[in-house]
Amino acid sequence: MRSAIFFLTGVAMMLLGGWVGLPKVLYKQQAQPLDFSHKAHVVKAEMDCTGCHDFREDGSFAGVPKLDNCAGCHAEPVGTTANEKKLVEAHVTPEKEIGWLVYSKQPINTRFSHAIHVKKAELKCERCHGEHGKTETLRPYEYNVVSGYSRDIWGRSVSRLRRASHEGMKMDDCMDCHKEKGAVAGCLGCHR
């Protein structure tokens, strides 16, 4: 009986460590340089995603907005929030880019065309980015201390079971969607 108790305790400790402890040890958090409310911009200012995350004239995706995008409206504060004040004083006025930490930053050996996925395949932004466009604050950026990748690449769920369709940006996730849509890209379609 005593042995069984120790055995089961070992099992329980390992399960607890693996499922609860591992994510805490494996991922470190880093705060964004500035908080940002997508909701305020999308709902109050009635902007859409491409208002800031725009496509260039040649059709390519401009990515995370540069300071110029912000400065277009916020050369002077238009509201009263501390964040906006910080934006203007610490970035817009001294023309210092904001070092956003990109949740969905892809590995260096990968290339991804927003233009093809958004314009040609007509995917909604939410398909990969979930409800990020409706958040009021920016969650901390989390990165994997071993691989250095953003946690969003693996997905929030450490088991990758029962996750939402937008969770995870591993190759398997891309392949699942490609298979579903019957889209063929080949190795060099996504890999450098």
Binding site: F7, G10, V11, M13, M14, G18, D58
Partner: protein, 666 residues
């Protein structure tokens, strides 16, 4: 009190539960990624992504490509819609070539670094005193070719020379049968049957994409005759294996079989019949190792699936055929009624880039005092002894080359030319009126000298007058102006006649549009079969009877055949192409020899053996691969990289179809 057993049970429980946690799987995944991201692995700088339209100029096919750029660096190459057959592994890796290890970093004089002026002074010194100076251009038809021609004609004894261009060899022979003035091309769009004799049509020739597409739809039947089971042979519906060097006998035998089926209507038939009658089918059968029935069957297929066209030209590694073989292959087209017929060989328009040149093999042996050779990758191999034969004793050789290989290693002076993508390069299709330009997308390496800059410096050192506008950009604009004035053809779908000015055409071409003129001029072709003169007849029979060469030297029992792809003459192979091809063995890597297992067994050799392949010109160490597709008593040697090419001896006519060899374990 905690006992040892308790700790063991605790540990045991943990170990049992470990596979039920994400720890092993997650850590394996993360560690794998970590090993791909070592801090010392160079990470390319991020920057603004863009795409520039261009063409691949590594061979004459001139495939339409899009170069992916980050800031001002090319980072990848993709095919464009105008290249329906896609692009090859060479083109895919072409952006890697400027950093290739074989790249020349500076001009060389006697193997030591020199500047452009120093090289020009040395060449001028060697040419002083009215010496014969030959300029060898392996890619005729370019604007740069125009500059070479201008330079050669500015000298008292200047020769502008070109090697045999394989894609046009049969066409030129057919042109001769039509009186010598016609410019001809193959009509791939309507051909029903194509018999390629040694020619790698689907494996690097211009026009391959159209044939591949038609073959996929079942619109064209492809038959290949040759001495090795090449990629073309694999892609054809039927492969006819020929004894090495017996192409001429094959052509004459097939002519006999065609004529036996019924007398075709052709001028000169009676004289040609007398040649054929002196070369009976049994003789052709013995020389080619084909059954007489094969000739008859082939003749039936060709005659029954018209329009049929017979294509020669040789291949990238084993070089061109003798002129007589080409003449007989052209005669087969006449017998088939394919010359001047849609789907066969038709007239093509001339274009302003064409210029008269002297064929290298027509230059008298030992007559060239100074050779200036442009090593712009032509796609096919050109062995040193083909060049050496024409050089006078103590001749001075200057090579304009991007790579320190081949002729550059033989030359006293080497001009380090820019790599592809660093300067304007051109693609001029030899077998039709076509021209495309690849713009520079990368800053030129310091020390690189463009061919026109070198010629200008050399002209100054030799006190030659080259006239105004002697520069590649001016010459290309001038060529575009001439095309625009002709109002012919179209540039990537836009008709030249609809373009307002020559500048509009130049702008389109300089941004990656390919110009071509496909219109067949209204010209009646009246071919005549060869053999009208007795000496002509004897010449054709002599070549047919002399192959395979009877002079097999004692102790050299194997027929050595050069094999290789368009890269045989490309100078350097991008790492991407090498990795894909070498690791997959889709193409034999450099340093490989292949032999039929039965031949190897007789010599006591096995797969993977290091062997020495020896001919009368020397020996090379290679790794042996056993391959059922290699003909018995033959050995195929991959000539990529040039080493094995040294084993071949070119004849007076500039051909090196085979050599006699022996093989022993190294």
């Amino acid at each position: 009190m905690l006992k040892r057993r308790d700790i063991l049970m605790l540990g045991g429980g943990s170990i049992v539960a470990l596979p039920l946690t994400p720890i092993p799987y997650k850590l394996l995944d993360d560690t794998a990624i970590w090993t791909q991201n070592w801090p010392w692995i160079p990470v390319p700088k991020a920057g603004a992504a863009s795409v520039k339209n261009s063409v691949c100029t590594l061979c004459r096919a001139g495939c339409a490509i899009a170069v992916r750029m980050v800031d001002d660096r090319p980072i990848g190459v993709m095919p464009r819609g105008e290249a329906p057959g896609g692009i090859c592994a060479l083109a895919f890796g072409s952006h890697q070539l400027p950093w290739h290890k074989a790249r020349l970093r500076t001009c060389l004089l006697d193997g030591k670094p020199a500047d452009c002026a120093g090289v020009a002074a040395a060449v001028a010194n060697a040419a002083a005193g009215g010496k014969t100076v030959a300029v060898l251009d392996e890619r005729p038809g370019r604007a740069m070719s125009g500059l070479y021609r201008r330079f050669a004609s500015a000298m008292e004894k200047g020769i502008y020379a070109t090697p045999v261009i394989q894609e046009t060899a049969t066409l030129e022979a057919a042109g001769q049968l039509c009186g010598g003035k016609s410019k001809l091309r193959y009509d791939w769009s309507k051909a029903a049957t194509v018999l390629s004799v040694g020619a790698p049509l689907l494996d690097g020739w211009p026009g391959a994409a159209e044939l591949i597409a038609r073959r996929a739809k079942g619109e064209v039947k492809l038959i290949h005759a040759g001495s090795n089971y090449s990629r073309q042979a694999q892609l054809s519906e039927r492969f006819i294996p020929l004894a090495p060097g017996s192409e001429c006998a094959f052509a004459l035998g097939l002519a006999g079989a065609l004529m036996a089926q019924g007398a075709p209507k052709a001028d000169g038939l009676r004289e040609f019949e007398s040649i054929v009658s002196r070369f009976p089918l049994e003789r052709a059968s013995a020389m080619t190792a084909l059954k007489p029935e094969t000739f008859k069957e082939l003749a039936q297929i060709l005659a029954g699936n018209s329009p049929a066209v017979v294509v020669g030209g040789g291949d990238f590694a084993s070089g061109p055929f003798e002129a007589e073989t080409e003449e007989l292959l052209a005669a087969l087209n006449v017998l088939l009624g394919s010359v001047g017929r849609e789907g066969g060989i038709i007239a093509r328009p001339e274009w302003p880039g064409e210029a008269e040149s002297k064929r290298w093999n027509e230059i008298p042996d030992g007559s060239v005092d100074v050779l200036i050779a442009d090593r712009a990758a032509a796609g096919f191999a050109l062995p040193w002894n083909v060049i050496e034969r024409k050089l006078a004793k103590g001749a001075f050789v200057a090579a304009i080359s991007t790579w320190n290989e081949g002729l550059a290693t033989r030359a006293q002076a080497v001009v380090a030319a820019p790599a592809p993508m660093e300067d304007w390069t051109e693609s001029a299709q030899a077998d039709q009126a076509g021209w495309a330009v690849a713009p520079a997308v990368l800053k030129r390496q310091e020390g690189a000298v463009t061919p026109d800059e070198f010629l200008t410096a050399l002209a100054a050192a030799m006190s030659l007058q080259l006239g105004d506008g002697f520069g590649i950009e001016d010459e290309m604009k001038s060529l575009a102006a001439k095309i625009h004035a002709s109002k012919k053809g179209e540039a990537s779908g836009q008709k030249v006649s609809a373009m307002a000015t020559a500048d509009d055409l130049w702008k389109a071409i300089s941004e990656g549009a390919a110009w071509s003129d496909q219109a067949a001029p209204a010209q009646s072709l009246k071919p005549r079969l060869p053999g009208a003169k007795p000496e002509e007849m004897e010449r054709l029979l002599a070549v047919a009877n002399s192959h395979p060469p009877k002079s097999k030297p004692e102790g050299f029992p194997l027929a050595l055949l050069a094999t290789g792809w368009v890269a045989a003459g490309a100078g350097a192979k991008p790492p991407l192409a090498r990795k894909v091809e070498d690791e997959s063995l889709l193409r034999r890597p450099a340093g490989r020899a292949a032999m039929n297992p039965s031949t190897a067994q007789g010599l006591g050799l096995k797969n993977g053996d290091a062997v020495k392949v020896e001919t009368r010109r020397g020996e090379q160490q290679m790794t042996l691969t056993l391959d059922d597709a290699v003909l018995p008593n033959a050995i195929e040697s991959e000539v990529v990289g040039g080493g094995a090419m040294e084993l071949f001896e070119a004849g007076p006519d500039g051909t090196w179809r085979q050599a006699w060899a022996r093989v022993r374990r190294a």
